[in-house]
Amino acid sequence: MRRNLPDLGAALFVLLLGLLTAWQASVIPTSPIYAQVGPKAIPYLVAAGLLALGVALTVAALRGGWSDDIEELQGAAPLNLRALGLLLAGLLANLALIGPFGFTVAATAQFALVAAAFGSRAHLRNLAIAFVVSLGAYVLFVKLLGVNIGAGVVEGLLFGSPD
């Protein structure tokens, strides 16, 4: 039977996760406190489980894999690089902007990029909607619920500095 490369990739990822777990379990300091089962036992068990499952998945992938039997994938649309790329750009923009510029700026940029990823072309209107939605959410969470979600430039101008 033919081996299935994408499935093999997924199986190897599980093996890698098992190895990472085993490595992290081995560096847990041995506890000076007496206990019947130390802090290392379960991490080793989880590592062993992941490795065993990884091996089983690898064997399955080498024997033709399982993806071809997934009903949902029969006739599914191909990879849409543009949509996925714009969406990932939106997530990265948020990561980069939220620290220096605060929630509203970061969320507005993210909103516009995600909307563009899903085919919206009204970029200016999206920016406007994004700004209103983000600012509304900011007021709801920070002022009403008392959960700080990251003040920044816009919030400082509108509500004064956070302290």
Binding site: L57, W66, I70, L91, N148
Partner: protein
């Protein structure tokens, strides 16, 4: 406390203005997010967990249960009008429901779904009230060894029995267990699996994982396969059911509710199996005239039965959650972590130590059910309008709220990196058909299972045979083993007989 006096106490509390308000808010929100494709109750409750800092436990849980029940009602609207089921329990509903809608019978389909949900919700909630105290009595006899065995059974059933493949389900479960291990070990104070990153000492936050799996991963997967085009929302029309519609729906409602509730109560919780069974039962039992409508013009029995089974199973899931502290669905797991954030340990003692909370909650489920049938029958046009929110802005909005939910935890960019990282893993899990619910359950139940195991071993002074020499624990573990190996052995046997 027995069920009747408990309910009397509960209704006394649930009918106060503030608690009615929480219930109404929960029902409204729950229906809305149930209708919207892409958001489910697990994600919504996870995003609302911060309110546990400022709202009383009773108010918060009434809200959460309203969302839980409401999402079931809303889910059926989407699967009928849009033919895209929002959650796994409504897949079956869309089989016949969408066909009825295409033939201009969307109204009666929605009505039978809503009334069926109401009937099943009532049956299920009565079941919780009367079965709960009985299970608590039994559960009080269990020690840590038995608890550990029960959790193992729960792990096996949610990951290996349901879903397409036992290996992939177990892989998801172990990924969840791994996430649950991160942080400081409670018994010895040692940092575990933190990779030396100080932000990970407190562990991976459950909100973060839920948002990553259900919002970020799902949206990424949708973008992966995105094709431009508009989805068609069917018109609702009149929701009046004819006399024959009612007659044909009545028994399916009752049978569906009776079938669904036990499935929810068992630790094999899940709504796929009972809805499927109900569908096949109704198709078998339908008269010759009605049977022709199955799969062609849409048979009302095929909507009424599964929809009732879905709601009754959802109600049943609350039984192990409230009496044993065992969550068997992702939503129940997140509610469990809400209990923990109030410092309440769910388990058999909940019914005595927090009697007022528990009974108010159960009474509120009755209240929510009545509110939901009212919200859903006359207002169904409003919910259908929600479906017309364009996809780009909907998903953009979902991701903005996902960010809020995560960044609000500790304002740390490390959390956001984790969120997006786990989100990308979740996207690949969708692609390779690994179920995501076992991740959440493993993550929340894993640390509890470890604690129970270590307690049991401390009591037995390190003797591992304690799990198999105590009869109840041994029985439960045997059932778990059977659930894991049974279907495979049966399959092998079938092949041998056929050969």
């Amino acid at each position: 406390m027995d069920a009747l006096s408990g309910l009397a106490l509960g209704f006394g509390n649930a009918l106060t203005l503030a608690n009615l308000g929480w219930a109404l808010l929960g029902c409204f929100l729950g229906t809305a997010i149930g209708v919207l494709p892409g958001i489910g109750p697990a994600l919504t409750i996870a995003l609302l967990l911060p309110i546990t800092f400022s709202v009383s436990a009773t108010g918060a849980f009434i809200l959460f249960c309203g969302i839980f029940y409401g999402a079931m009602y809303g889910g059926s609207t989407t699967s009928i009008l849009l033919n895209t089921p929002g959650e796994s329990g409504s897949i079956i509903t869309s089989l016949e429901g969408a066909k009825m809608a295409r033939n201009g019978r969307a109204g009666p389909a929605l009505a039978t779904a809503a009334i069926g949900s109401f009937v099943a919700g009532m049956v299920g909630t009565i079941g919780i009230a009367f079965l709960g105290p009985i299970i608590v009595e039994l559960a009080l006899q269990l020690g840590p060894a038995e608890y550990f065995a029960l959790m193992v059974l729960c792990f096996v059933t949610v990951s290996a029995v349901l879903g397409g493949s036992a290996i992939r389900g177990l892989t998801s479960l172990f990924f969840g267990l791994l996430l649950g291990l991160v942080g400081i070990d409670l018994q010895t104070g040692q940092p575990r699996l933190t990779f030396g990153i100080p932000e990970l000492l407190d562990g991976v936050n459950v909100v973060l994982v839920a948002v990553a799996l259900f919002a970020v991963g799902e949206t990424l997967y949708l973008a992966w396969r995105y094709v431009e085009g508009k989805q068609e929302v069917r018109a609702v029309g009149s929701i009046m059911m004819s006399r024959s519609d009612l007659k044909r729906s009545f028994w399916p409602w009752i049978r569906g509710a009776g079938l669904g509730f036990p499935f929810g109560v068992m630790p094999a919780g899940g709504t796929e199996m009972p809805t499927m069974l109900s569908y096949y039962a109704e198709r078998k039992l339908a008269g010759p005239e009605a049977r022709k409508e199955f799969g062609t013009t849409g048979a009302i029995e095929g909507v009424a039965g599964p929809e009732a089974a879905n709601n009754a199973a959802a109600a049943g899931i609350l039984v192990p959650m409230l009496t044993l502290g065992l969550p068997t669905s992702a939503t129940a797991a997140i509610m469990l972590s809400a209990f923990q954030s109030y410092g309440i340990q769910p388990g058999p003692l909940l019914f005595t130590s927090q009697a007022e909370l528990v009974w108010t909650l159960i009474a509120s489920l009755f209240v929510a059910n009545v509110m939901l049938v009212v919200l859903n029958l006359p207002l169904v046009g409003l919910w259908a309008r929600i479906l017309k929110i364009p996809q780009p802005q909907l998903y953009a909005g979902i991701l903005v709220f996902a960010t809020i939910g995560t960044y609000g935890i500790s304002n740390s960019v490390v959390d956001l990196i984790l969120l997006y990282g786990i989100g990308v893993i979740a996207m690949f899990m969708r692609r390779f058909d690994f179920p995501v619910a076992p991740v959440v359950i493993g993550m929340i139940l894993g640390p509890m299972a470890e604690q129970a195991m270590r307690q049991a071993l401390t009591i037995s002074q390190g003797d591992w045979t304690t799990f198999v020499t105590r009869p109840v624990s041994a029985c439960i573990l045997a059932v778990a083993l059977l659930a894991l190996a049974g279907p495979r052995l049966y399959g092998a046997w079938l092949r041998r007989v056929a050969a």
